[in-house]
């Protein structure tokens, strides 16, 4: 049973941490309930009727993901640097391969315009720009293959239809 003692301790510690977090936050948080004005997005001006859609350019996500790549690289580089001497040439080669692969991903991102903030020329070429005609066509429901509107979802994968293709259909 001895071997399971650390697990028990860990569980207790985990529970304690959770409990302490609740207790701590309730003790430290301001007691006074905030007023309606306090929770408004801005404490002045017109109260919006509807939530404004929060739109971020997708590039922000791209940058975040590129950051993760290099972040991970650093995560690996640090322990490697610590035991660099012991690993010797083998370690050097391995980390170079690793860095090389990470660099390739960077290369890929650059070539795909992930870091070009201006509207990319080749992207415009690849995707036909939206004209008022195509927009009208799209909105009026005319299926225009050249309009880059969202594809019409096949009902097959819709929850109801997926169920229908199961045995229930036979019933």
């Amino acid at each position: 049973m001895d071997q399971y003692l650390p697990i028990l301790v860990l569980i207790v510690l985990g529970l304690l941490f959770a409990a302490l977090s609740f207790v701590g936050s309730s003790m430290l948080a301001p007691k006074k309930r905030p007023t309606a004005a306090k929770v408004a997005p801005y404490e002045c001006g017109i109260v919006p009727d509807i939530e404004p859609p929060s739109r971020f350019p997708v590039r922000f996500y791209l940058v975040a993901m590129i950051f993760i790549i290099f972040d991970i690289e650093i995560v690996f580089l640090y322990p490697w640097a610590v035991v660099f001497h012991q690993l010797g040439t083998f370690g050097l080669v391995e980390i170079l391969v690793f860095a090389g692969i990470v660099f390739v991903s960077f290369l890929y991102l650059v070539s795909n315009g992930a870091l070009s903030w201006a509207p990319a020329k080749h992207l415009e070429r690849a995707m036909p720009s939206r004209t008022s005609d195509s927009t009208i066509a799209r909105i009026s429901g005319n299926p225009d293959p050249l309009a880059s509107g969202p594809p019409v979802a096949s009902p097959d994968v819709e929850p109801a239809a997926a169920a229908a293709s199961g045995p229930g259909q036979a019933a």
Binding site: L87, I101, L107, S111, A126
Partner: protein, 574 residues
Amino acid sequence: MSPSLLLGVAAATPRFRTPHIDYLSILPILIMMGGAVAIVVVSSLVRRQLRTGVGTLLAIVTSLAALGASLTQWADVADHGAKVTIAGAVAYDGFSVFIQVTVSIAMLLTVLVGDGYLRREDVGGPELYVLALLSASGAMVMGSANDLIVIFLGLEIMSIALYVLAAFNHRRTESGEAALKYFILGSFSSAIFVYGIALVYGATGSTNLPEIADYLSKNVVASNGVLLAGLALLLVGFGFKIAAVPFHMWSPDVYQGAPSPVTGFMAAVAKAGAFAALLRVFVSSFGAERADWQPIVWALAILSLVVGAVLALSQRDVKRMLAYSSINQAGFILLGVQAADGRGVAASLYYVFVYTFMIIGTFAVVTVLARTGDRGHDLSEYRGLAKRQPLLAGALAILLLAQAGVPFTTGFLAKFQVVAAAVDAHSYALAAVAMASGAIAAFFYLRVAIAMYSPAGASGDDASHEPAGAAGAGVGGEAGSAGSGSPAGSGMADPVGAAGGRGGAVGVAAPGVAMLSLQVLTDEAPSPEVAGRTVPVPALAATALGLAVAFTVVFGIVPAPIVDFAHRATLLFL
């Protein structure tokens, strides 16, 4: 010692003894991964228009190189015997080489099918190949892993790439939906798998497969419950990857939603990798515990056989039907696992190998027939195909018949062997259920064939073959589709027809590729009305299809080499 190393306090501590690495033993894996990196580099540097072409070329070269490396390995293993390398992490034996050959071939066929798809759909460049190569390398790792941790590593390499592949066609919402479902459930099952590894480690004190076997043969495990729970959870993890009932739920949705070439790849490679690891772990490491896990595999097999066959019956979407049929096929392969002896393993390996050709070939046809947008998967799309494109219909018919297990195809011997193995293992009920489900399965494979060979305009006749309950709905739907489709005569509801008029979208989508319409080779000239509905068959896809059909038929008639190959793979099993 370990704390000091981790903290790096003592620079004077002796050097790591880095393991000796036998590069030949992992050469195909390295080639696959290297090929993936190379494709990323080259495609980043060349002009955008050339990317798909260059990617295809490189991917074909990589697959062929991996195949060549695998065959070199085969000769090497045959000459020098099997061994464990890289600090016991990798098993280098006939079994692992067999899987590497299988996966290399699956990769090659997928590239051939994928090229036409990429050009037609215009959804991206060679990323498909990169991801597929990585996924394939993961399956190879699973095949040669000799350690539970390495198996998990391979599983994740394979799966994560597959998740992205499922979402590859970003213009189809189904594709994204499929990927998300697959990702969530896959992560779920991976977590369970890791938990299983942890429990097994807890019970035996090792994750290394030979060491586990060694330990189990020498000791009676005190807390057997931990080991048994670990086994159960490992089975869940594998069961998910091979889509065994009741862990199959994801597969119809994912098969349907994923891009068609990816579906074929998924069905072949994920199965190959998962079955390889399943066989190695359970038959070789936990062979002593077979009394505990055999009943579970038995139940999974029966459920897969029955549920797969029965639910496939009522599908009208061909991809969905193939998903259920692949569940059924997984049930058959489980027969060999359940037998848990040399014959069973050989039968399963043979099955996986020949199934690779059948399923990728089938999906090659599905891909081609789906037309731009990858959505023409309804059975009605296949109606009258034999009149329009007899060779395409003939090839699909052969592959479907092979999957149904018709003699003189590889599929027959595959089914025959697993059933024989089950009978030898005295699992008579299982064998009987397998044969019954095979009979049911023949029905839905034949249904597609019948649709292809019946006239395009005919409606309702197919509905009479439907299970009685579905007939009502079938007639209605059928009549509706025929009513809207056939008076137009040329099926112009299809975007291809429309786009074709607008300057040949198909031609634009495939610059520089010889579009070999199989129509050229057909026996009789189609009427203009019929010709309007023919689909172009890219030369590479036709090559893949030809390879698949040729393999299926030739080695169905001359099965000995492949049977022998699978058999020797198990002889060189560690």
